[in-house]
Amino acid sequence: MNGGNGSVPVGEELSHGLGEFLSEVSDCETLEIIALERLSGGAVQENYALDVHFSSGAMAGRHELVLRADAPSAVAASRSRADEFAVLKVAWEAGLKVPEPLWVCADDSLIGRAFYVMRRLPGDASGHRLVRDPSLDAVRESLVERLGEELARLHTIEPPHPELEGLPQPPLSPAHARIQEYRGYLDKLPEPQPALEWGLRWLERKAPVSDEVVLCHCDYRTGNYLVEQGELSGILDWEFASWSDPLEDIAWFCARCWRFGQWHQEAGGMGSREAFYRGYERISGKSITKKFISYWEVMATVRWAIIALQQGHRHTSGDENSLELALTGRMVPEMELDILMQIEAVKGEVFERAQ
């Protein structure tokens, strides 16, 4: 996995407990941790590039791995490492393009926090680079089509699922569940947000009945997948996976906020919406109802606005002094304008399946 700019070495104490764990799970008495370096990115989780040489056992030889652990100041709202590992395992077994999950350690006494280990995949995940890389121009359409196919494969996984009992129960109405969740986040912030309340009230009044509730990634977007030599090499960051309406994932991928400035490329700043839908519809065998996508894109923009508010609050509350976080807080009216314009654009639209 590409670490972006620079990596941070970690201390002895981490690699000591880790060595014992790896030795046990791989049934290999002697192994050498060749490298363990923090990869950049990930405010809630920390990823480490982990190179290990196993002297014997099923894993004999040298392996390039990733260790994913909670950041020391982990915040709520995302899955535990054990639940995320379970989701990744289910996705891997369903044949999705994801890093192979290897071992999970829910015991936080070994390295001080829960973690799991997966294989390291090659490729670049940087949204800013991917949407502008001229060497990808010839393959953009096939890439987003592939991303549509992968998402449709994920969405074939339905509740109940014996390996995913750690996930919150499937909601009766995914839309109403999200609205309640987002209002809860707003209530934890110090300032009132009339524009976001307006968006949420609109979402509440227009909430469609979901045709189905399936396993969703819930952060499926450019920046969370790897591209290696023009091909999709892996889908990452499963920390928000939940049972939800599949349209939520499709809309999140296409929402303006994840186009990294390439507004005309409606599928994640990477390619056309048509190609993304084509891949999705071919695998799912169902056609995507455009107006419900419009609904879930308003939801996506509200979600991103709340994330930006929370990031700004991390700075203003004094938790983490950061220019980037401070400026993110100041981006909120951009999303608010998008919400108002998105609502205006679908004014008069009849959501005939509305509750």
Partner: protein
């Protein structure tokens, strides 16, 4: 009376110094932080230039919705009134008070608030949307 240049004037010249004299001295990987700093100064300069004009207008619009007396009673000064009235406004929206006939007017008020904030934080975003 204060000395010149004023806050906005100082922020403008500080920003120009960062961008025109210092940016080129930085290695490529540190320039992003410098550009962010320059952006922060630009936002602060626009906020200083605006003074309280945007807040005065916002309170006037809230007075049209809730009545002058209600807004006056909400606090001792502009900032207290803005804070208190927005809290009530947000709650009323959530409670569905504005679902009915006045929805268009309320949406226009919210649009006005958002535009005022964008004029300070990112006027080019507003221009790109054709709403300047």
């Amino acid at each position: 009376m204060r000395n010149s240049p004023d806050a906005a004037g100082l922020l403008h010249v500080a920003r120009e110094t960062l961008l025109n004299e210092l940016l080129e001295l930085l290695p490529e990987e540190r320039r992003y932080a410098m550009r962010m700093a320059a952006n922060a100064l630009a936002i602060a300069a626009r906020e200083a230039e605006t003074g309280e004009a945007d807040l005065v207008k916002e309170l006037r619009l809230l007075s049209e919705l809730y009545g002058e007396n209600v807004v006056q009673a909400a606090g001792a000064n502009l900032h207290e009134r803005i804070a208190k009235m927005n809290k009530r406004f947000a709650k009323d929206i959530r409670d569905g008070i504005f679902d009915g006939a006045c929805a268009q007017g309320v949406q226009a008020l919210i649009m006005d608030q958002v535009r005022a904030r964008l004029r300070i934080s990112n006027p080019s975003y507003l221009r790109a949307a054709g709403l300047d």
